[in-house]
Structures are given as structure tokens and as C-alpha cells.
Symmetry: C2
């Protein structure tokens, strides 16, 4: 570390990864750090040591930490109960995590829940808050692609409703844990095959389970290239999601927040449906959301 | 073993299991045996020893073995090339497996392939042949539920077309390898939840990925009982399959061949769609199909 001392610290602590930013009081990023000590790999006694290992060098006296993500779940450091829709992306209800280090004051942002259909988010609400902080009075639909992709309806600065699709997790599981793992072995990617899968699935989304096995049979009978199988699987899953999420995105202003390559697939797929979407990079947006929460804490 | 000597031996050798029947020349089952030395667990030098370990006591001089299943795949004992539809369920083309035991003559039944949409079967063709041997001149659609469920259109004693759904494998993978494993932990089953999942999926089959995550959120927010989550997942997946397979089963005579509990779910689900189906137990039907192949071999 380079002698950076943080005025406060922003933390995004998900199931798989821990990211932190040393922040100035005015909201400038002074330094950042990351490790793979995600919430899912730790037990209750491991959270504070893991955090201190990552950010200890930035701490020089009492410091406030604002954290979002699965760290606030029941299995996390402290449970930050869900706020119920409709609500602001950053509802009141920061929860302080128990800490044995007198310098640390760790606050966790609550997730958001929906009763019908039952749904939850943790972490995405902070990205949404960051996006809205940068785009005041924005109404429309935010798509956050990932392991569990969210479609979120925003109106009058509130989260009105949302729906989660297990698309990313299905892709990972199907391509590595089922018989399709024999047909999807490398890292290639075929754009045309993605488009084919996408349009097949949008036209007849109910055929998913049959089309999955076709990928295997095509591999056996026609030596389907790996990149074609992978891209077609992705197209099939994203196509089925877009077909189902159509009531969300049709005729709406759309923003897609996420990592570059995956977000680009969604933006292109939406464009092919004559639905233009703005692509927003996740990293800075998360910091903007954590900053908004910090500012509210400071009043 | 009880001193049984087989006139010939029937074998069903799939990826996970090996089953064998000691048969009389007239087609009576004299004894049966099974073990978990499936094709997937063995390499090329392991097939003959595994078979002899299971059936050796039945062998007293030269004996013919008729085998079906994945043992005839490229990774099996000997590759029995696929016959192409339209074709009889038992097309010509038994392939003899190399054997070092002078008493053993092992013949493997070929699978069936379809060019468009690409599809393959290995093992099911023998069950179909057994069913048709017992039900001459039967026309209609045969459903064979399992890891990879098949829907097979039969006309004039031929397999005309078929389609495979990965429903069973998706159920296993989703319930054990995704976040839903936290919501599906026991062995309970709720019939009403199965019906709910089934009718939801048949009405809006494209919503599958969203409904999957709803199961998790319902577990978090509403303490959804395990048996409800499991049965609803099963209903969602089978409902999506039935919606997609509707062109197969609508207005057709239907037979469901498989193990009891799973077949019953399909029969009940079809009944709810006003599509009556005959339930056929898989075990005797497989032996009947192997017997039909043996009789043809003997001319």
C-alpha cells in the first residue's frame, strides 16, 4: 500500500468476492483493493479479519465503512432486513455490524424484497442508487445482468417492482454440470450462433429443454464447434429471459448495468428487438451508490 | 447364484447402471442381477470383466448376450452406429463387441438418430421395440421419462421422429447445484405444489428462469416448505416440457414407459390436459425388446 489514508471506505461484499475503495470525504476514489474472500467462504468470526486484511493499511484512526451485498444476508456479518417495494433504492435502515476493532464502524445497506411474485435483491439496490444519483429523475427499466439477472422498474425515484432470472447461474450450471459439458469445452464464441439461439428462443421460448438436448445431439452427429454450442446456449437462455421480461422492457427507457461483455450481449439483443438500451459500467456505479449512502449517513 | 444356466443373456447397460437377465430359449426370465458398474464408470478394458463378474455364474459353455444402451456409444465397449429415422425401433445392425472369453458372444443394439432437429437415443429404442412387440400395429406417441425424456412418434411400426428434453437432468442439476439447493433440502413432496407448477408453466412456459428464482425468494421470505419447493420445481419443468411437446401428444394415442413414480407424474399431468395415457412399466418392456432382438438374431 502507498500510505493512503481513507476518510471513509466503500465495500461491495458479495457471495464470491470482496471489493473495497479508499474514499476521500468529497467522494473521490483514493485507492482500491479486491480479494476472493466472498461472504460465502467465511463464517461469522471471519468477516472482520478478512476486511481488515484488505483495508487495514488505509485505516489511521476511527473510520466508517459502508458495505453492500450478501454480507447483509442472514448468513453474513449482520442481517440487514429487506425493505419492501415500493421504496427508494436506498431505503432507510443501515445496520451496524458488530466489530471488535475500535477504529471500525461498519454499516450494511439493506436489500429490497417484493412479496408477489416473491423476489429479493442484495447489492443491486446500491448500483441502482448510484445510477439514479447520477441520473436524477430517471424513469424506466434497469437490467442488471449477472448470476441472477434483475429487471427493475423505476418510477419517481423508487423501485416499483422487479423480477430476477437465474439465467447466468443456469448457463454456468448447464455448461459445466450436465451432459452439455461434453459439447462446451473451450472458450470460443460464435456471434452468429448467439443470434440464432436468441431468435429461436424469443420465437418459441417454451422449447428450451428440447433445444438444450439438441446442442448435445448436434455435437454427436455434426461435430458442432465448441464456440457455436456455447454461444447458442447463451443465446437460448438470454432469449428466453428477454421473451419473459418483455412486459418490463417493451416501450421503456432501458439501462443495462453490469460488466462489459455480458452487458453488451443484452444491449445488442435488445437492439435487435428495436429496444435501444444504455450500457452502464458497474464499477463506478457501485461506488456512486455507496457514496450516496455515506452522504445520507453524514446527514 | 442358484445354479441357473442361461440359454442367452439380456443386458441393459446404461451410463450409470448395468442390469442383466438370464433367459431361457423361449424368452422366460430365469434370474436377474444388477450392479452400478455403468458404462460411464468403466474404460475399454473394464467392460468384459464387469459383465463376467455379474453374469459369470450363469455361463456354462458358449452363450449369446444381447445388450442395449450407452454401452454401444463411442465411449462404450463397441460403437454401434446410429440408424436414421424413419426406421424400425430395432433396425438391422447388431454389432459384436470384442471379447477375450471364448464362451461370450456379445451383440450390441444400435441407437437411433435424427438429422433435423438433431437428436439421438440409445436404449430407449429397445424399450420401444419391446412395447411394439407386445402391442402389434400400435400407432401413436411414446413418452419415456427419465434423465433425458424422449417423445417418440410411432407409425406403421417405425420410429418416425422424436424429441429429447433434458427435463430430468435439469431437475437434478437445478435442485443440487444452484442456489435452489438451499430451498430443496429434504425428500418431501406436495401434490398441490406440483399441480401449481405444472399449470403455471403450461400457461406461460417462457417464464421458467424467473419462476425458478421465485422459489428461492419464497424460501427466504415465506419459509416455503421443502416439499412445496421440490414439487413446484418438478411441476414447472414438466409443465414446460408438456407445453413444448404438445405437437407430439395432442390428439394422439399415448403410452408412457418408465419407472413408476416419474411415469405417474406424466400420466397425471397429461390427464389434466384431457390427454389420457397408458402407463407401462419399463423393466419387462426392456426384456421384451432384448428378446425381440435375440429372436431376430436367431432368425
Amino acid at each position: 500500500m502507498s500510505g493512503v489514508k481513507a476518510d471513509w471506505i466503500a465495500v461491495d461484499w458479495g457471495t464470491s468476492n470482496l471489493r473495497a475503495w479508499a474514499m476521500s470525504a468529497s467522494g473521490t476514489v483514493l485507492a482500491e483493493a479486491a480479494c476472493n474472500e466472498g461472504m460465502g467462504k467465511l463464517t461469522i468470526h471471519g468477516f472482520e479479519p478478512a476486511l481488515l486484511k484488505l483495508i487495514g493499511d488505509w485505516v489511521d484512526g476511527p473510520v466508517q465503512v459502508i458495505a453492500c451485498g450478501m454480507i447483509g444476508s442472514r448468513q453474513g456479518w449482520v442481517e440487514a432486513p429487506y425493505a419492501a417495494v415500493p421504496c427508494p433504492a436506498l431505503p432507510n435502515g443501515l445496520v451496524q455490524a458488530p466489530s471488535s476493532d475500535p477504529n471500525l464502524q461498519v454499516f450494511v445497506i439493506p436489500g429490497i424484497k417484493q412479496a408477489t411474485p416473491a423476489d429479493v435483491m442484495r447489492g443491486e439496490e446500491t448500483q441502482i442508487a448510484g445510477f439514479l444519483a447520477r441520473n436524477p429523475n430517471w424513469d424506466g427499466v434497469i437490467c442488471l445482468p449477472g448470476t441472477h439477472t434483475k429487471w427493475v422498474h423505476i418510477s419517481a425515484d423508487e423501485v416499483v417492482s422487479f423480477q430476477t432470472f437465474m439465467t447466468g447461474e443456469l448457463f454456468d450450471t448447464i455448461s459445466t454440470q450436465t451432459i452439455l459439458r461434453h459439447s462446451i469445452t473451450g472458450v470460443e464464441w460464435d456471434d452468429d450462433a448467439f443470434q440464432t439461439g436468441l431468435s429461436d428462443a424469443m420465437a418459441r421460448p417454451e422449447r428450451l429443454a428440447a433445444r438444450l438436448f439438441s446442442l448435445r445431439a448436434d455435437g454427436l452427429l455434426n461435430d458442432l464447434p465448441d464456440g457455436v454450442a456455447r454461444a447458442r446456449l447463451s443465446g437460448l437462455l438470454i432469449g428466453a429471459e428477454l421473451a419473459s421480461a418483455k412486459p418490463y422492457w417493451l416501450g421503456q427507457q432501458i439501462a443495462v448495468i453490469g460488466e462489459g461483455a455480458l452487458s453488451k450481449l443484452y444491449v445488442d439483443a435488445l437492439a435487435a428487438q428495436a429496444a435501444p438500451a444504455t450500457q452502464v459500467h458497474a464499477g463506478p456505479i457501485t461506488v456512486a451508490g455507496l457514496t450516496a449512502a455515506y452522504r445520507r449517513l453524514k446527514g
